[in-house]
């Protein structure tokens, strides 16, 4: 029971942190991709989306290359601060962020692009800056898609396994999120715990998908 609670708490912390970051970065990236043409746009787009199709273990491997104690970014960070993302809950959140980000970017970008162009143009003629138009017109009209993107990302972050295992390991009470705890319980023959955790994740994910679908289905007009 304690293992369950600790795993659930940790999972919540990891997925919520990842979702907050995804909300900020993902929305910015979605807006950029939806509203601008620039050099390297397709490369950026592909780079954001590739974790959707890569095995999570490969994503985790790259994260270790980047953020590991010997990594390109991790080594200077470790030298400066003595801290490394490896084997920490922050590492798990980082893995969840990278793996779940493309869902947010794709879904909210589509919502932003579906806002009637006339409404954006009329804003310009009314003297509004792009920022004002984004804040008062585009984002409110794309709100449902943005929320759906956030929900899907949260669900994906909650279910993250492979990349988390690579960078954060499977340390009970420290980095053992719900999916990792299921694996441990199953390996140890603790079928009751494995079943309970599996059921819990299924219910949460099912509810999230249900609401995400409902929100994307309803529209203003």
């Amino acid at each position: 029971m304690e293992a369950l609670l600790s795993a659930a708490r940790l999972s919540l912390l990891v997925s919520l942190s990842a979702t907050v970051l995804i909300g900020l970065a993902g929305l910015g990236l979605a807006y950029l991709l939806a509203s601008r043409e620039f050099r390297g746009k397709h490369v950026l787009d592909a780079l954001i989306s590739v974790p959707l199709v890569l095995p999570p273990t490969v994503v985790g491997y790259y994260l270790v290359l980047l953020f590991g104690r010997e990594g390109w970014l991790g080594a200077p960070l470790y030298r400066l601060t003595g801290w490394s993302a490896v084997f920490t809950w922050q590492g798990a959140a980082l893995a969840a962020f990278v793996v779940a980000l493309p869902l947010m970017v794709r879904v909210s970008r589509a919502a932003i692009q579906s806002v009637d162009r006339d409404l954006i143009q009329i804003s310009a003629t009314l003297g509004k800056s792009e920022w004002e138009t984004a804040w008062h017109v585009v984002l409110p009209l794309a709100r449902q898609g943005i929320l759906a993107g956030l929900l899907l990302s949260f669900a994906r972050a909650l279910g993250e396994f492979g990349a988390t295992l690579m960078i954060a390991g499977n340390i009970p009470g420290k980095t053992s999120t719900l999916p990792l705890s299921i694996y441990t319980a199953f390996q140890n023959g603790d079928d009751t715990l494995a079943q309970t955790l599996a059921l819990l994740l299924t219910v949460i994910s099912g509810a999230v998908i249900y609401f995400a679908n409902r929100w994307t289905a309803s529209r203003w007009m």
Binding site: D116, D118, L119, Q121, I122, A124, T125, L126, G127, K128, S129, H136, V137, P140, L141, W220, M221
Partner: protein, 248 residues
């Protein structure tokens, strides 16, 4: 005539090329021609939503666009009241909020005062809290017009302002638009493909065909001396219908 609007530019979009030049005073200017003649593209260029390849657009003493001098004022600085053909009301804002949003300082007391005045002027008081989808066509148009005025425009662009309203209220709206222009005394440019409407509204008529201006002048001058067989034909048919569509 004081030139309030000086328009001469060229724009190629795909296989369509628009090459127009006309000047007008502080009056009602009607761009008339068949659909596909380039009237809407002209509007977009005037408002700054489309950049011409070459040319110059001047409003009074303000240079809005000049390719030779590298001037291209963004749409939001052109101080234009632009009525889109389908109004482009914000679906997530009430009529009141649609209008208020156009004020430079939407939260100010001044905005409240101007909003009340506009709601009254356009008879929108009772529907002010409704969303666009709950408004009739005529009400939507009045909200869009009030919103355009809230912006404090120095000129008005009205794209087919009469095409989406019932025949019964058309005559009234014509009168109201004319009065509006006389009251504000700013240039009002409107687009139509209906000759009767063009003749009834225009102080100055610019006739478009195939991306070119085929004739421009007062309706009387154009009807008396149509330079183009197409116009003569249009003019003739308008007279044949026997309607008193213009009054001079």
């Amino acid at each position: 005539m004081d030139v309030a609007l000086d328009v001469r530019f060229r724009k190629t979009l795909g296989s369509f090329s628009l090459d127009v030049s006309w000047q007008a005073g502080c009056e009602i200017v009607v761009l008339f021609g068949p659909s596909g003649a380039g009237k809407s593209l002209t509007f977009q260029a005037l408002a700054g939503l489309v950049t011409p390849d070459e040319g110059r657009i001047r409003l009074g003493d303000a240079l809005l666009f000049d390719s030779a001098r590298g001037v291209n004022l963004p749409a939001r600085e052109r101080e234009v009241g632009y009525l889109f053909q389908h109004y482009a009301l914000y679906p997530h804002m009430s009529a009141r909020d649609n209008i208020r949003f156009a004020h430079p300082h939407p939260g100010s007391r001044e905005a409240d005062r101007e909003l009340d005045a506009l709601l009254q002027r356009f008879h929108l008081g009772e529907v002010a809290d409704l969303f666009p989808r709950a408004l009739s066509g005529g009400q939507r148009q009045r909200v869009a017009l009030a919103r355009a005025l809230m912006r404090r425009p120095r000129w008005l662009l009205l794209d087919e302002p009469l095409s989406a309203v019932d025949l019964a209220v058309r005559r009234r709206i014509r009168t109201e638009l004319k009065q509006l222009q006389r009251t504000l005394s700013i240039p009002m440019v409107l687009v139509t493909h209906d000759l009767g409407e063009a003749l009834a509204m225009a102080d100055y008529l610019v006739i478009y065909d195939g991306g070119r201006v085929v004739q421009a002048g007062t309706p009387a001058a154009i009807l008396q001396n149509p330079e183009n067989p197409v116009i003569a034909d249009w003019a003739g048919s308008a007279l044949v219908h026997g309607e008193r569509v213009f009054s001079f």
